[in-house]
Symmetry: C2
Subunit: 747 residues, 2 copies
């Protein structure tokens, strides 16, 4: 396939016709402005959040200045000295330069100048980085990505000390350092620069930002629209098996803004990479907002950049930690520096949403620039209002038609369902159609494993992705969804998975006590249709809301289905018999099964299989409407993991043999509490007495849920006509139900 | 063996001659006094800590009064409704009665009276509790222990509303409820009442306290000295295999005070049970202090009760959680209600140590009585000073000669070593001679497994001890000490273990940067002498203090030694090759080995075997001077555990074959940090380059520790003459060292 280079070129040429309103003559003009600096200087000492950040940053930078500047010959992977030193350098240079503006103290400008000239002296003769693992090697770092990071920060530093430098000094830096640096990560590395991928966003921002500072319109255009595609081999693939270049010939910052973000601001790779990508998106956008107001960058695609900040905050748990959808490291949260940037800029340029001040307060720091002072003033003046997260349904895909991610929340995040029915998520995507994870406040109840990587920890594969990320973390069986015939969705193949996405059936959060989302997947297994409906329900007889999961499969042949639930904590009790093997063996050979030990296997003892566990000082119960022929399995992650790269976490799995059309119905309750200090066990038993499929045909699945007080409720999903006009009439066990809309719940 | 009943009897008769200074005529006179109540009432509203507790307790009691009183027919084990209801009743009655005194509101007295009469109505016809598992069945509860709990609290409730009741009401309660209740848990249950065991302490306190309130001197004497032994079968054994009765014929409260507490206040069962036992000890002592000042109970055995409070606080980590020595549930801490009692009473009667006010502040609550108001006034008046824990060496045994427990702390609990060289610890003891655990602040670095029990969680064996407590948790291999020939110390036999104890070699915490403890065990394996010396050392080249472990074994034949280290977290890197088995099998058949899977086995690649792991956002490295023929094993707990009663925690183990005399030398460092938010890995590598045994003979072991900066230090333990007068002269690798005292450290 040849990308549409004509389209890209025409965009490029069109852009060239727009007069470039460069203000290269006035500095700072990128992230800080002259007006902003005046505002900061006059407010200094009266804005606690800003003042505290100045104090902290100053202490940090002063300590670095004491140590002296070191720009070692590049040698190491991430985690190693030269990598970490160059990384720290650009952070410190940006901070020092900002302090120069804020405090008007030339000590900081001099430090930045000296560092830049050390780089200038070494860069012109610098070969490619000696480590060869990357598809796009940098010079200071082993991959262009990190070089781009360097330039994004150094552009800001350069802008902030621009006026401090003499014109000949600027000339030397631009000729010997910045321009060749920008060329290396773009012209010389198109496989890095011209993609629709978070790596490229960094490259685009880097080149564009230095272009804005230098007043180099050609670099800015390259950043915005990419390198013309006729200069590039357009059919290459990257190490992860993905196509390097967009199939429709788009590249550059605007393409990266259009493509991976849905109209709702969801970033297709997932929140962990959205967090990482937000920084270059927002920092370059802020620069464009100041230096190229003609582009109206924050209005682009109906203000998608600002929506993205909201979407990202919505994809965090009660502790602010992001849901680890696709490749995501657990623990990453809105306390990360990228989110300080995102929240401050979104507040500053995006209508001053006072809820963002609440997040900024929790972060306890602000940017030392125009955006940061806005936030700090807002906080100081008591304008913050609580950021209360609500249920949200975020579409995926550039035009919002490639499935999505729904987050159902009850009350104050007492129960939070994260349901994924999205597109593949580019090269960081997992094969986990219709998977979910469940949270209560900041605690995981049923986990998404996240990635298999120890980011920046040199001892574990140089801090990079481990092979278990592919062999385990991406595979379907690593997720709380159905694996058919022990084979991952799309056979775990990116070329297939990236062609498809799940489809929303319906989403309804209008009744806070019965919130429902339902989606369909028809491509993961040809010939099989999977339809999953998940609801968060609160009933009077229950202490807390519970999760209802109706997972229907229709297939044109008999299959084996595995549906695991990755719980965290210790097994308390089950209502079925099982055998515990004397030796632990891997459950299979491939698709992630090679990493699971079988710790127990049994068969249902009743219609409603019950399994309780405890963790986080709470009790949890999974109840599932099982068949007598089902196998119930306790699994443990860790087989074939000689380097101990995986966590030894547990799973409970329902295996159904020889089934074509079938339905898995389960509830998950959280209940009670236990404290090792009081040693009181409160409400340690499930409130569910019965769980049955009471009707199932092509058009409907009906489930009855009986509680221990003797009350029974019925939940019906309609698959045929979901419109509110259509009136459903259904007889279930002698009762006639009539309703309109895609589901019915009788309490 | 027949206990010395004559001695017990003579004590008993002697006690009968002491005039009983009963003040039964004035109430309250047990835990509260008339003077104390006056003080409380006049201070009310001006003492925040007290007022806050009143408010909290009042809200709790008011809610219970709303619900009405329920005294169901006894039926359940702990965790079940009738158990939990009766338990809640006595807590509520005690609180309501106290509120009556504090607030002078008859609503509370009436509630207590009504509840007591419901009990009076049911008790006279109540059979033994229907559950038969206990060696001493109660009536309201399945074991006398819980009945005794009831009476300890109800005595206080009765005392507080004594004057509110009419004389005929009191007569009815005493005749039909309290006296028969006291008789059931004493005369009718000598196997419960007459032991030297924490159960008996509860029984003694219960009988004594109701005796004090009723002015019944016979009950008080029974409580203090036990039932005369000629009324009892003295050779019985309990379910745990321990002798029921003390071998020297002692029983009663004073025997229980003399026997399990060392002169330093260490309770031989360990801190978890010390915490549990402290309540009846202190609450009855407080009652005796008020009603029987002639006994001078707080001066008994040089003030051991007050020393016990200090000892218990010393046995907690930086978060206040007790070290789980012997049977101990992790997470139990000085926030437990028993410690509120202990701290308040110790402050009130024990010289008003202002450091106790610091703990009380953290607890955030006080007793609603004379002791509580003292504490609350002290806190209000700003008298609290920080409770800074220091290193401490606590002797074990009634006379302090049965080994002990040493806790070495560096700085602000940055590194805390818990070294156990104690006696068996009665029936709750573990076979873990010379074992240790390591903490940094409140985090476990190398763990003591603790108990195998889910206290009060009905689903797990009724909340009682699980069989894995015996098969795993008590066994030697479950601890960070040496197991010889895959057999536990004393063959895991209580009858043998309880005859012996380890012996202190020396303890020296005078130099905060080199603190050392050393002890010897000669009985765990006949023919083998184990000598372990552990030091916490801080050197300039190291970021933090590290642990040095010199574990010497001298045996008269060749043995296999296993030395495990139970780390918590994820394996980072090792400097040796190992094989990972494709299937996991149990490592052995008995002595706990049946619960360990072997996850990897290798051999040393160098003299200094290195193993790094990470957890709690920190890095840890174990370095060990190994032999080429050693086996290095990764183990995982969980084999032969069909009910998932054990945690799937990991261990690293050094196995040495065919060794007679040998020495294991290891260091454990904690270093650096990692945050998933910043993704920065700081100082992730060990500072130790070399670790060697440079001298080893009958009298000395010398170790050299080389750090990455190239500096080497030498540590020598002298086993022969440890006196400060003796001058050691030793040539090690061409250098002559001269020193006096049991160890030398050259920095």
């Amino acid at each position: 396939m040849k990308p549409n280079t004509r389209f890209a070129l025409s965009l490029f040429m069109l852009a060239m016709l727009v007069p470039v309103l460069s203000q290269a003559g006035e500095h700072p003009n990128l992230i800080m402005t002259k007006a902003g600096v005046e505002k900061i200087r006059s407010a200094l000492g009266t804005v606690p959040l800003f003042d505290a950040t100045v104090e902290k940053v100053q202490a940090e930078v002063d300590e670095e200045i004491e140590l002296g500047i070191d720009t070692p010959v590049p040698k190491d992977y991430s985690g190693g000295y030269t990598h970490e030193r160059h990384k720290r350098n650009f952070f410190m240079a940006q901070k020092a330069a900002v302090l120069y503006q804020v405090l008007d103290d030339e000590k900081y400008a001099g430090y930045v100048r000296d560092m830049l000239f050390q780089y200038e002296a070494m860069y012109k003769d610098l070969p490619l980085h000696p480590k060869t693992r990357s598809y796009a090697r940098g010079k200071l770092f082993w991959q262009c990505l990190n070089d781009a990071n360097w330039l994004v920060y150094m552009s800001q530093a350069y802008d902030a000390i621009y006026d401090y430098l003499s014109p000949p000094e600027r000339q030397r830096l631009e000729d010997n350092l910045f321009r060749p640096f920008a060329d290396h990560i773009s012209i010389d590395s198109p496989q890095f620069f011209n993609r629709v991928h978070n790596h490229s966003t960094w490259g685009n921002a880097a080149v564009g930002m230095i272009g804005l500072v230098m007043g180099d319109d050609a670099l800015v255009e390259r950043a915005l629209y990419g390198i013309p595609f006729d200069e590039v081999d357009a059919d290459g693939k990257d190490d992860d098996g993905g196509f390097i270049y967009s199939r429709d010939g788009k590249a550059g910052f605007l393409a990266n803004l259009d493509e991976p973000f849905s109209p709702d601001g969801y970033y297709t790779e997932g929140p962990y990479y959205q967090r990482y990508a937000m920084y270059p998106f927002l920092i370059f956008a802020q620069g464009l907002h100041n230096a190229r107001p003609d582009l109206k960058i924050f209005d682009h695609k109906n203000g998608v950049l600002l929506k993205a900040v909201d979407a990202l905050l919505a994809l965090s748990d009660a502790d602010g930690e992001f849901f680890p959808l696709n490749d995501g490291q657990k623990g990453m949260s809105y306390y990360a520096r990228e989110l300080v940037t995102a929240v401050d800029i979104a507040y500053h340029v995006g209508g001053r949403d006072p809820r963002l001040l609440d997040i900024a307060q929790r972060q306890g720091q602000v940017l030392l620039d125009d955006a940061g002072i806005s936030v700090a003033l807002g906080v100081r003046d008591g304008e913050a209002v609580p950021y209360e997260k609500t249920s949200v349904n975020l579409s995926d895909g550039a035009d919002g038609t490639q499935g999505g991610v729904a987050v159902l929340r009850h009350g104050d995040e007492n129960l939070t369902l994260v349901f994924k029915y999205a597109a593949q998520g580019l090269s960081h995507g997992h094969y986990d159609k219709l998977s979910f994870s469940l949270y209560e406040k900041g605690d995981e109840v049923l986990q998404d494993y996240g990635l298999a990587r120890f980011v920046n920890i040199e001892q574990k594969g140089g801090g990079n992705y481990l092979k278990e990320n592919t062999s385990w973390a991406k595979q379907t069986i690593a997720h709380n969804t159905i694996t058919q015939n022990e084979t991952s969705h799309f056979q775990g193949k990116y070329e297939i998975g990236s062609q498809h996405h799940s489809v929303l059936h319906f989403y309804d959060d209008t009744d806070p006590d019965v919130q429902v989302v339902s989606a369909t997947e028809t491509n993961a297994y040809p010939g099989t249709t999977m339809r999953r409906t998940m609801a968060i329900i609160k009933r009077d007889a229950f202490e807390r809301p519970f999760l209802l999961d109706v997972f229907r499969v229709d297939a044109d042949e008999e299959n084996q289905y595995d549906l695991p639930f990755y719980f965290l904590g210790q097994v308390l009790t089950v209502n079925f018999d099982y055998e515990s093997p004397a030796t632990l063996r891997a459950l299979g050979e491939e698709y992630g099964y090679q990493h699971l030990y079988l710790e127990g296997v049994g068969t249902p003892g009743s219609e409603a299989t019950r399994f309780s566990w405890m963790g986080n000082g709470k009790f949890y119960t999974l109840t599932s409407a099982t068949r007598a022929s089902d196998e119930l399995m306790f699994t443990r992650i860790g087989a074939n993991d000689p380097d101990f790269n995986l966590r030894r976490d547990a799973g409970f799995m329902i295996r159904r043999h020889g089934a074509g059309d079938t339905v898995f119905v389960s509830t998950v309750e959280t209940h009670g509490s236990y404290s090792p200090v009081t040693e009181l066990a409160v409400n340690s038993n499930s409130s569910i007495a019965t769980l049955k499929v009471v009707y199932h045909d092509a058009d409907y699945t009906a489930v009855s849920i009986g509680d221990v007080s003797g009350e029974t409720s019925v939940f019906v999903v309609a698959y045929s006509d979901s419109s509110s006009e259509f009136e459903h009439v259904l007889d279930v066990e002698g009762v006639t139900y009539q309703w309109s809309g895609p589901y019915l719940y009788t309490n």
